[in-house]
């Protein structure tokens, strides 16, 4: 299916009570705008506009959806609603807040709180190779607070990556873009292929979807931390499974960051879901302690067990 870039609504377009300021991002599934509401507050508006199914030509407002794509377009809309439903119930300082939901121009829109700042992606590019351990621990510990809330609502994010992590000007992170929640729904429909970002998605997201769980978001979190150090995403996990070329963080940055942080990152990036931290809480605990975490699986030899005990002792002192 050829996909063509959709043109965005023009600046100063009046969309219901909101005035479009500019386009913020263009994805395969939607366009995000910066807009102001009637009181002049800045908001982010996400427009449902799947590239492969709907086309808005330059200068037009209403996107065209051909007869054959109608059903798929509506189905995708259902998934967009799922995202809205998920977010509407979440109220957490580290999760983006939804303010309104409406229908216009033959499609649907989600209005979210806009905050000044930049994405972690942007931050990584500007500070390549100079990101401090304190920053990483601080951002991710807070971000995980938000992710915990998401998991507590029995949702998975499934698209955690630096470009979906937003840093407010005060440095606190906000988790964005819950569009990937649609994947759970869309996995069997060919017209809306599940989307993931190579390098940040865990192996089970490629082919083993019934094994998705909190540990899947944890892999992506680990990959995002890895990207903070490397400046780019680690090797794709589907390729890692065939031939693992990813250099473990413990080896690559030995001496530059604490062994404990590097071990924690490698722990998240385990290919076997069972070997990763199983819950956000487990990972948070690791990020908050200075001591080395005891890596699962427990060593079975006597010597191994002793060394674990010893390490735990040293860590505590």
């Amino acid at each position: 299916m050829p996909s063509q870039a959709n043109s965005a609504l023009p600046p100063s377009f009046q969309l219901e009570q909101y005035r479009i300021e500019q386009q913020l991002s263009l994805g395969g599934f939607s366009i995000v705008y910066l807009a102001t509401d009637a009181e002049g507050n800045a908001v982010a508006i996400k427009e449902y506009l799947p590239n492969s199914l709907a086309l808005r030509k330059n200068g037009e407002i209403e996107p065209q959806v051909t007869e054959e794509h109608q059903a798929a377009f509506r189905y995708g809309m259902k998934c967009f609603f799922e995202e809205g439903r998920s977010l509407a119930k979440l109220l957490h300082p580290n999760v983006v807040r939804v303010l309104n939901f409406f229908r216009a121009n033959g499609t649907v829109y989600m209005v979210m709180q806009f905050e000044r700042g930049r994405t972690l992606q942007d931050f990584i590019h500007r500070n390549k190779g100079h990101i401090k351990e304190r920053f990483i621990r601080g951002v991710f510990t807070r971000l995980l607070n938000g992710l915990r809330e998401v998991h507590a609502h029995k949702l998975l994010h499934l698209d955690i990556k630096p470009s979906n992590i937003y840093l407010r000007n005060d440095g606190t992170p906000v988790l964005l873009d819950f569009g990937a929640a649609r994947q759970t729904l869309a996995s069997d429909t060919p017209m809306l292929k599940p989307m993931y970002t190579p390098g940040f998605a865990p192996p089970e997201q490629f082919n083993d979807r019934e094994h998705l769980g909190p540990w899947s978001d944890i892999y992506s979190t680990g990959a995002s931390m890895y990207a903070c150090l490397a400046g780019s995403a680690p090797q794709r996990s589907d390729e890692r499974i065939k031939k693992d070329l990813m250099e473990p963080a413990t080896k690559r940055w030995a001496g530059q960051y604490s062994t404990h942080l590097l071990e924690t990152i490698d722990w998240c990036l385990e290919l076997d879901p069972l070997n990763r931290p199983q819950s956000v809480y487990a990972l948070q605990k690791a990020l908050l302690t200075r001591s080395r975490h005891v890596a699962p699986p427990p060593p079975s030899t006597f010597l191994g067990k002793m060394s674990v005990k010893l390490r735990a002792l040293i860590g505590r002192s």
């Binding site: 509506r74 439903r85 939804v98 309104n100 229908r103």
Partner: protein, 309 residues
């Protein structure tokens, strides 16, 4: 509508689980089904699967938010499930249609209606007593009714598993319907396959479940039946549902359907090997409007707790 529900199906000592349990509810209607595929026959598992799935899907298509005629629904969906099993056997060229027992219970407006064929049972327990119970469609039950043998003798009778009515098979099922039975707060409905009741004393189910938290106690009932069944224990399935008064205190595991959209259905099915694609991917203009209204209602509701607003 408020209720607490528990369902579980275990293979027992058998390699396959031929039992199926499922429940499904909309805002105003609750349906529960237990089916026990007959092991001595070909593809018992398939029969139980087809029957359960068929009845649940019929419910999903018509409980929007309520079924107009309960009795008609039960009689039609069970009869059609039977035919669906025959169709399957015909398509696959099976020498004999697979068979399954069935017990299905539909509750609307705090009134229960149930129907069954075979020896999977439904008990209605109120204030510590079984006030209603399905009668097995077994030769043994007939013999008990005629006073030829006692219940104690029946419990160990070699032919206790022989039933004369079921879905599938060569004969038309004899489906037995209950009268409309009003439910009161704390009434308990227990539906189970013979793997459960066959391994328990007659009063044990009542004693164990009557006043207890069914979510906590039902698995223990299953444990007990399973351990009595020993190494060759039959498949065990149980669905227990406590009906709550509207004024009952909300416990977190209580299901309240008051806030469900009129056309929404929630379904839990246990023991299915594969899941199916969600039905009806279409979205009408009304669906869009109601989804938007629902999301905005949620936003409004949760914004009240937002300290920044």
């Amino acid at each position: 509508m408020k209720f607490t529900v528990y369902q579980e199906s275990r293979p027992g000592g058998r390699p396959n689980n031929q039992d199926r349990v499922a429940y499904s509810y909309s805002r105003d209607s609750l349906l529960m089904v237990v089916a026990d595929g007959m092991g001595g026959h070909l593809h018992g598992e398939v029969a139980a699967q087809i029957a359960t799935q068929y009845i649940i899907e019929a419910f999903q298509a018509s409980a929007i938010p309520k079924i107009r005629d309960e009795l008609l629904f039960l009689s039609r969906s069970l009869a059609n499930a039977h035919n669906a099993i025959l169709d399957y056997a015909f398509e696959k060229g099976l020498p004999e249609a697979p068979r399954t027992t069935i017990v299905a219970c539909l509750i609307q407006d705090s009134v229960a209606h149930w129907a069954h064929a075979g020896d999977s049972r439904l008990y209605l327990i109120r204030r510590g007593r079984t006030i209603m119970q399905t009668r097995d469609h077994s030769r043994l039950q007939l013999m008990i009714d005629q006073g030829l043998i006692t219940e104690e003798e029946a419990a160990v009778h070699p032919a206790r598993n022989r039933i004369f009515s079921c879905l599938g098979g060569t004969h038309s099922p004899q489906i037995e319907f209950s009268s409309s039975t009003p439910l009161f707060a704390n009434d308990l409905i227990v539906m189970c396959s013979d793997g459960v009741w066959g391994n328990l004393e007659p009063d044990e189910l009542v004693d164990l479940l009557c006043d207890a938290d069914i979510l906590e106690r039902s698995p223990r009932v299953m444990d007990r039946a399973e351990s009595r069944g020993g190494l060759t224990c039959d498949n065990l399935s149980m669905l227990s549902m406590r009906w709550h008064d509207d004024y009952a205190e909300d416990s977190p595991s209580t299901v309240s359907t008051d806030t469900m959209p009129l056309d929404a259905i929630t379904t839990q099915m246990e023991g299915f090997a594969r899941s199916r694609l969600p039905e009806g991917t279409g979205l009408s203009d009304n669906d869009i409007e109601s989804a938007i209204a629902e999301i905005n209602a949620a936003i409004k509701k949760f914004s009240r707790f937002d300290p920044n607003r």
